[in-house]
Symmetry: C2
Subunit: 132 residues, 2 copies
């Protein structure tokens, strides 16, 4: 209000608050859902067929199909169909999907690194109802 004052920017460092609202949360939900991350992870070593994914992951065909479709739709994996009998379909990470691998791995590493602390916090919370 006072003249000579520069209106201080309302949000100083603010790395996340506004950024988390839109597409970012949708993405987090995507990799955070029950199956996408598992599939992405298993495809990180190279293409796999439908039945191979099915064997490696404990998942129903239904959910495997649905999840593969939405990953394909988002341009994270490709679907390659071979006109053989019996039919064969390969799924593979796209370049875009591979760029996603790195930040995802960051979270996976965090999880592996800190799982003990979280479990410890849970146990303490169960006992005391708080953690400090």
């Amino acid at each position: 209000m006072s003249p000579g004052h520069i209106e201080t920017p309302v949000r100083p460092p603010a790395p996340c608050p506004p950024d988390c609202d839109g597409f970012a949360r949708e993405l987090l939900s995507r990799v955070g859902d029950k199956w996408s991350l598992l599939i992405i992870g298993h495809l990180s070593n190279g293409p796999l067929r439908f039945s191979e994914l099915r064997r490696k992951i404990e998942i129903s065909q239904r959910m495997l199909t649905l999840t593969l479709r939405s990953l394909e739709k988002d341009g994270l994996i490709t679907r390659t169909q071979f006109p053989t009998i019996p039919p064969r379909v390969d799924y593979e990470l796209t370049p875009l999907g591979r760029t996603l691998l790195e930040p995802v791995m960051g979270l996976v590493l965090w999880a592996n690194r800190h799982s003990g602390e979280v479990e410890h916090a849970r146990a303490r919370f169960a006992r005391t109802g708080t953690q400090d």
Copy 2:
């Protein structure tokens, strides 16, 4: 098969497949759920009270309470109650919670950086039913 051949390792770099199964997926679900990430993000600038969070995020008291509880249970935030009238409760990221901020931001940045590509892929998929 042929002698003199070194059996190529079945899983060369294998960053994820085994690691994604257990706690990592649980964590991804946690930050990937509808509210946790939003709350964590808004707390990244410092502590906030219940009502402040409620105002900043479009969320019901119920879900705010539930989500705060489970974040507290996991040792990611602390709950500080002031014995005043009217009552006041502050929520703040723990050191553990703050370490989570970095990998999470990696994903948020990815999302902001590539949202265009994903939307483009979706549009193309809607038109052609595939993306190459």
